[in-house]
Point group: C2
Chain length 194, copies 2
Amino acid sequence: MSHFQPVALEHASRLINHGPTVLVTSRSRDGTRRNIMAAAWSMPVEFTPPRIAIVIDKKTFTRELLKDSGSFGICIPGAALANLTYSVGSSTGFEDDKFARLGIKAVAGPVLGVPLLEAGCSAWLECRWIPEAHTEEAYDTCFGEVVAAAADERIFVRGRWSFRDDNRALQTLHHLGAGNFVCGGEVIHARAPG
Amino acid sequence: MSHFQPVALEHASRLINHGPTVLVTSRSRDGTRRNIMAAAWSMPVEFTPPRIAIVIDKKTFTRELLKDSGSFGICIPGAALANLTYSVGSSTGFEDDKFARLGIKAVAGPVLGVPLLEAGCSAWLECRWIPEAHTEEAYDTCFGEVVAAAADERIFVRGRWSFRDDNRALQTLHHLGAGNFVCGGEVIHARAPG
């Protein structure tokens, strides 16, 4: 049973606001090819409409599929998927279908049909590519607009992350480099200023 | 005594690879005005030369100073600076000098003279602005090249983050929204794939 529930688009930026390492999913326009890779370099750029930027190297299979289909997905792996995240970030999709090789099950995004992961992930964002030829070429930086989002109700509650002792396996990963990820720890509530 | 040591430029991207919330510092070209704000939306975009992207709203004083001087700083606050981070992110520099009001001490960046924080921070990056009119206008996304970087040797050791029980106060903050920050917790060492 999936615990995923829709996230209102005006709350979608919160899913990556704290800088998690993500999985990028994509498929060809005709649906015959697909890929999944890891990306540490992404960020929201706008709340409404919800838009994001993500660095995807121009030599990757993901970049080819993104341009072909005009869409991509961002899936947020939980701590229990650290090995999988490192693994899909260390091999190329040009050679085989990583979903099949690694036994990754995907659901189809509700708007664009992008393959998305739920099992082991805390959330996903389905994105429509916004072509920006210059930044794609100069910085490998691609822009997208979030057209649908969903999150596991055990960790994202009423539009907010809820990191607790009982959901550590779903908490986000943050790549320090070389396969070392720091997981979420204590949550600090800053004092309101003034 | 400062524990800051220079970070090799080819390792600079590692300082923000895991998505910390950062402080953005800036000053006017003539040095008479300066500002500090918080930013959750930043990411590396290239290793060599080290380049980064950061979202800075076009209505902010920081954006004005950045364009005036052609430079800005990124300082990475430790967990002990959660209140300060929230505070500088919740007021505007158009009205007063936040450094003076909040008693923030700054050092001058070695290359461009950007005001940078060390006390309570784990690292800083001094950046030269790369003008990109379209993405600045469309997405408030500014690009910069890192020209100098340094980190506290108690938490960034030989080019790598070292998150340990004895340096929790220096560990990075990741903004969940509304003044709630998640701090670094357990570090997971993913298995090498294959």
